[in-house]
Symmetry: C3
Subunit: 230 residues, 3 copies
């Protein structure tokens, strides 16, 4: 018996789950790579969110940079006629499935100059003594607020050991928050700064929404500073 | 080692994802057909939408018609006692799983007269010279409006090569739209008529909702005509 | 070729599907147990719903009680450093995956006294002649109202054969409902008491929402009694 081979495929889109788009891509993949599992990372990206373009650059930056790029255009890969509006079905799903079953990258299509691809410029925090100036990257279902700084940024600002920090946002009185390492350390309703599960700084409220309590939304500037420093 | 066999199963329902219904059907299938993958086409059909009855007729019409029909009632297939309210779990999921692992159709239950099954009468467009009268079949998450006509209907009306068309809807001034083949051809905010990924005519607005811009909802009549023709 | 082994894993959470949490747990499982299928029972539990704690006690009570309990803490199982906020990824998903591929329970971590675990006290109905006093356990997507009583409770109250029952709720005039065994027996818009797919008593309205019609929400007390009994 031949080995049943198929690497897992991670699937991220703005298709939502109300329509049949995600299911159809799963079906396309199942035909080409029946032994691949498909991991739905999320399909709730805001429709046509421009930040999507270049999203993959975050992955290749982390893996040491981009070496090869190919245009997905081989007749044996894409589903023709390629529709004007559903490239997930006709281009991306079949390409992922072919790669998952071991098709060589070179068979996907002709090479593209890697430097021609769009990259995302990730907002990097401004770090000074006793001050980290960040930006809200996102707010999750629980109202936790993810910031554009990392634990290392707190250390560089000399704030890693502060038990309390001041959160300064536009148009609001600065708010004191605790530095905590787990939700368990935080009293119900209290705001705290933690390092979240992806290593980022995050503002949280135990059994509450930090976004609501602190009046924050994606893109807002947030400064963290030592209390009492003006 | 015996071959691990299981055809993929496509699962479409009105169960939504807030409750455990979909997961329970997956579990029933996993017991009977552990090597089948289950493709969730959508579970967001409007609850108890009457158009559901006969839905399968669209599939068999496309595949050349219905040859055999069986009642799902064999004691070895259905889960007894069959509940009054969850036939997905007790009847449909086990039947699909048994067929996926190779159970013969005849073992599912006794034959039914195929002509006794409910079919959907799909709204067909009225085509005249320079005019296609259609109906809105649905609106997707992006606000794209799918119409009951196909590319062929435009051709029959002699409108296939028109660069602009007029969209006439009830109680609104006719709107001019472009004929486009990709979103890329359409200016931001502009309305256009395209052939969508399923081959149907569709009204779209680049980075906007055609349903909102044109004031359209499922079931609304929409006429497409040559501009200037009264 | 070694057997590809992996028991199915059932995944229930309050993560929702808007974020990437569920997908990340799937990815963790796929690494450790690539041949396990993951059945998403639901991810729409109300965030931080306290009833979650002890939820598993409903399962072990049904299976005859708890025999062994282990703390999930073995370095070979958990993903370190364990984050403060994403124990699903770092603790529960890897533990489930290890158990699915056959890791012995004892290798998960040191024993815990089973009696120290939190259990849920399920609301049990009060049954008297011609009266069953229950509570609303939940309302599903269709507006069906699940009660804390079973078919057996109706029998103990001598109400099993009543064709009509009176539903008494706080601050409303008692409502007469039919006793039905399928939706098909109920006129459109009519309220009925049925035994639902999990064996529980449930109030339903054919093509309508019983929760709306009867003004009921989770936790509300509901008495079922013989009509005319004050």
């Amino acid at each position: 018996m031949a080995e049943r081979y198929g690497r897992p495929i991670v699937f991220l889109s703005d298709y939502g789950l109300a329509d049949e788009f995600v299911g159809i891509c799963h079906a396309v993949i199942a035909r080409i790579a029946p032994h691949s599992s498909v991991i739905d990372l999320s399909h709730a990206i805001t429709p046509q969110d421009v930040l999507d373009n270049g999203l993959l650059s975050l992955a290749w930056a982390r893996e040491g940079g981009l070496v090869h790029a190919r245009e997905i255009s081989s007749p044996g890969v894409i589903l023709e006629p390629v529709s004007a509006t559903f490239h997930g079905r006709d281009i991306f799903a079949p390409a992922a499935a072919h790669l998952a079953v071991g098709t060589a990258l070179g068979e996907i299509g002709p090479p593209i100059d890697p430097s021609s691809l769009v990259s995302i410029a990730w907002p990097s925090p401004n770090v000074e003594p006793s001050l980290v100036e960040t930006e809200v990257l996102g707010v999750d279902r629980f109202g936790n607020v993810q910031l554009s700084g990392l634990r290392e940024d707190l250390e560089r600002a000399g704030l890693a050991d502060s038990e309390r920090l001041e959160v300064v946002t536009r148009g609001r009185t600065p708010t004191a928050v605790r530095r905590a390492s787990t939700f368990g350390e935080v009293t119900e309703g209290e705001a705290a700064l933690i390092v979240d599960s992806s290593g980022s700084l995050a503002l949280v409220v135990n059994r509450g929404s930090a976004a609501e309590v602190l009046g924050l939304a994606t893109g807002d500037p947030v400064s963290l500073r030592r209390p009492g420093v003006p």
